[in-house]
Amino acid sequence: MFNQRVVKREGHQGDQAVVPEVVRRSRYPCRLTMYGDAPDVEVSIEEFETFALDRLQVLRAIEDAQLRAKGEDDMRKRISEALEKHMPSHTNRSKLLPRQLVGERRKDHVSHFILRLAFSRTEELRGWFLRYECALLKHRFQNADLAEKQELLSSAQLRLAHLSPADRDAKLGSASGFYAAQEQLFEVDFERVLDLVGRSQVVLRAGRAFVPQSEVAALLIHEFRHSLTQALAVCAKALPQMGEDERLLPLLQNLSNQTARSEYQSTGAAGAVTAESVPGLSDSFPLCMQHLHSQLARDRHLRHGGRMQLGLFLKGIGLGLQDALVFWRRAFSAMTDDQFQKGYAYNIRHNYGMEGKRADYTPYSCHRVIMSNPPGPGDHHGCPFRHFSAERLRAALHKDSLPDAEVREVADLAQAGHYQVACTRHLELRLHHRRQQTQQQPDADIRLSAVTSPNQYFDLCLGCTKPTHASATDTTTAAAILSGAPKSTTAIY
């Protein structure tokens, strides 16, 4: 049972010595933690709910920040604000009462574990939780003071051996120049810094990675991710036993339902889609799918990445399995029936959940198209706003007969890294022109919620006679995202 001791403040002097001492002897001497031990405290049901919801707000703010932030400083600012608002935590040298300090840390500790339970249920939820908890720890570590960093590093037991200058020369030779001369280096097995290895940010020698001081956070996060992954798997198994306390399960369910992770559900706006109707509908495809579709027509073939991206998209708009088989068979006009059956038909059926483990694959979201499986030579999948060179993108945008200024606007957005916003803006402009041509409300500007999935784009585009007018206060519109409007004000364009 957690024992709180209240100490009255007697004045400023002498306080500095007193506050740390009391805190140091409490359950929570340090602000930062890797959540190694489960909390051994009692919490009220109200605290249980409030703590968890507050932490969830923080994690969702991080998710949001990753989507909208313009650069690292902006990101840091957004996360700090969210923390300050929902889950503040102060250092040992702040002027807070020990009771308050410990209270903050208790909330941090307990809320993490509640969310662990809530998010261990499915692989998707676990992935979400893992991603943003790692981001949170990374943020806190990077913004902590030196003493706190040291404390966390030593408690994490990273087993870091640092390299003396002599060793550095002996082991690295000329490669030592890759790092700043005065930077401290640590030598670890490469498996512990996979992220740095994959991005060629560290020198490797015989399976050992040389990690600079500045990247020690990466090591820390990697260890954290590893242990949290395992902990979540354990939690998932323990979850059925929680049924005993009826108050908790509904709360946990509610928590995990609050994330914006659910995949886009197609509205079926196109009705029944047949193999013949696909070309006609392609006008309403997003740029990525138009590109794949035209390349398919040109080459009479598509590589695997393209087949998956386009194939699942078509499934999402309503192309059934039989029609899909016809569509692809006709598209691959240069091959024999035999070749098609053996090489491709199986995979199409697989995508519809008719083979193998019978998983019903869902169409890719924009996030997935942009982030996973970048196109290599000969590939046409991916997101044009991200994966095309600036010129190619402009050329592709010109095909819609949009005026130069508008093409430039969209291209600039893409250049700045706002791929989805660029795509959404492109859609808005296309719809606007379409409207003008059909004389329907030609002057009304179109504002759409930021596109998060190619299928959503399709539905929006197809339903353009009655577009989803985002309300003026909807902060998810492309315009709002660009202007960085905070949630409560009117979106200005």
């Binding site: 890759f178 490469f190 020198v203 035999d338 290599g376 030579p377 000969g378 046409h380 095309f388």
Partner: protein, 415 residues
């Protein structure tokens, strides 16, 4: 047993790839003992490395059988002879024999380990090579594979510390790499993705003009520095002399598209259009001179100053299929099977043979069966008296590095 059992006559369809000819191959030529020792990672008793390993067979008219597994080498040999698959793939080692996968609870049957593998396919070079396209290869474009093997092999050995590496010819138009160190086999998907990421440099799909974009810092990475040295050794010969990458307007346009400077691009295009017949060697040196002059004038404009280096890499650096490397449960064509389209054996390539290996001298199934006919030796040493012998030798050397004790090197009934 009659002597004639081993011999196939011409009218038996010796020139075809059929279940019969394949069956003959698997029975008399396939190096079973060595193969088993390799995958078992142990000389004698079957371990879970072998019994829990997934194989897949392609039989008859393309019927694909997954989740094949065997309790020992004898069972493997029997099934191989019985089914005579046209293709064998090796998959991961699982938590239970893959044969029993369907009867297990979902979530219980999972991949545990597998060799770290790489697949380099010549079709990924189609946008660069001018001599061939698609499934065809020739001595000129094969040299891209040579460069790829040098670059990747050195990185795997020097940077990652792997030592048990076997390269293999895919039988038609590429090479595979099998990294068999225990540390490599234990890597999870994230680890494999990281290794693939470390080795990948060419980024960008068909719509990307310039695919190699190195920052000042990343260009200093020892792997890049070393790879550039290797690439520089081969670039002129392979790209300029053999491929003549700048000979025609179509070809030079592709190269000029990677120039970040519009004006320079137009100038070079005009200059070469006036006198198009000069060699790529000459045109290249003109291009580099022009780029250098331009870069000097505008101050070291990022992009021009590094153009030569980036472009050499873009055209010569290995193009890996990252998907093959990233997933533990990805299946890859087994060494020593016969390629269904060419009839060639998927033979190992020794580390000192990268430059000398010639895919056109790799024996075909028909050739081997003929050779078996011509020799009068007993069936036991059939393979060693055919053109397979040197390749078996390479495999033998490799397997001895993988096992704790040396392979029995007696004149051999035992391979």
């Amino acid at each position: 047993m009659e002597m004639d059992d081993d011999r196939m006559q011409v009218d038996d369809g010796i020139d075809e790839i059929s279940p019969m000819t394949l069956g003959h191959y698997y029975q008399h030529l396939f190096p079973h003992a060595l193969y088993y020792k390799w995958l078992n990672y142990n000389g004698k008793l079957a371990t879970t490395e072998f019994t829990h390993r997934e194989f897949s067979f392609t039989i008859k008219d393309g019927i694909y059988l997954r989740y094949q597994s065997f309790k020992d080498s004898e069972e493997f040999q029997r099934e191989l002879s019985r089914l005579s698959p046209s293709k064998i793939d090796i998959g991961a080692i699982f938590t239970a024999p893959p044969k029993h996968a369907k009867s297990l609870q979902p979530g219980v049957f999972k991949p545990v380990s597998k060799e770290l593998v790489f697949d380099i396919d010549m079709t990924d070079y189609d946008e660069i090579r001018t001599c061939c396209q698609g499934g065809d290869i020739c001595a000129k474009c094969w040299r891209f594979m040579t460069v790829a093997m040098h670059v990747v092999d050195r990185a795997l050995r020097e940077d990652f510390g792997f030592t048990k590496i076997m390269w293999a010819y895919s039988g038609r138009r590429g090479v595979h790499c099998w990294v068999c160190d225990e540390r490599a086999r234990k890597l999870d998907d994230a680890g494999r993705k990281a290794v693939a990421g470390y080795l990948s440099l060419i980024r960008g799909g068909a719509e990307q003009g310039k695919k190699v974009n190195l920052t000042q810092r990343s260009a200093q990475h020892p792997h890049i520095v070393r790879s550039l040295e290797i690439v520089e050794e081969y670039f002129e010969d392979v790209l300029l002399v053999d491929q003549e990458i700048l000979l025609t307007r179509d070809r030079w346009t592709k190269v000029l598209n990677a120039l970040p400077d519009e004006e320079l691009r137009k100038t070079m295009d005009a200059q070469w259009s006036k006198r198009p017949d000069r060699s790529s060697v000459d045109k290249w040196s003109e291009l580099i001179d022009a780029v250098d002059k331009r870069a000097a004038k505008k101050g070291s404009k990022f992009g021009l100053g590094t153009f030569e280096r980036d472009l050499m890499l873009q055209m010569t650096y290995p193009r890996l299929d990252e998907n093959v490397t990233t997933h533990v449960n990805h299946l890859l064509k087994s060494p020593f099977c016969i390629h269904p389209k060419t009839g060639r054996v998927c033979t190992p390539i020794a580390a000192d043979q990268f430059d000398s290996f010639d895919p056109f001298t790799v024996p075909t199934l028909a050739q081997l069966l003929r050779e078996v006919n011509e020799t009068s030796s007993q069936s036991g040493s059939a393979a060693k008296s055919t053109s397979m012998a040197p390749y078996i030798g390479v495999f033998e050397d490799f397997v001895s590095t993988v096992l704790p004790t040396p392979v029995n090197s007696q004149p051999s009934l035992d391979f």
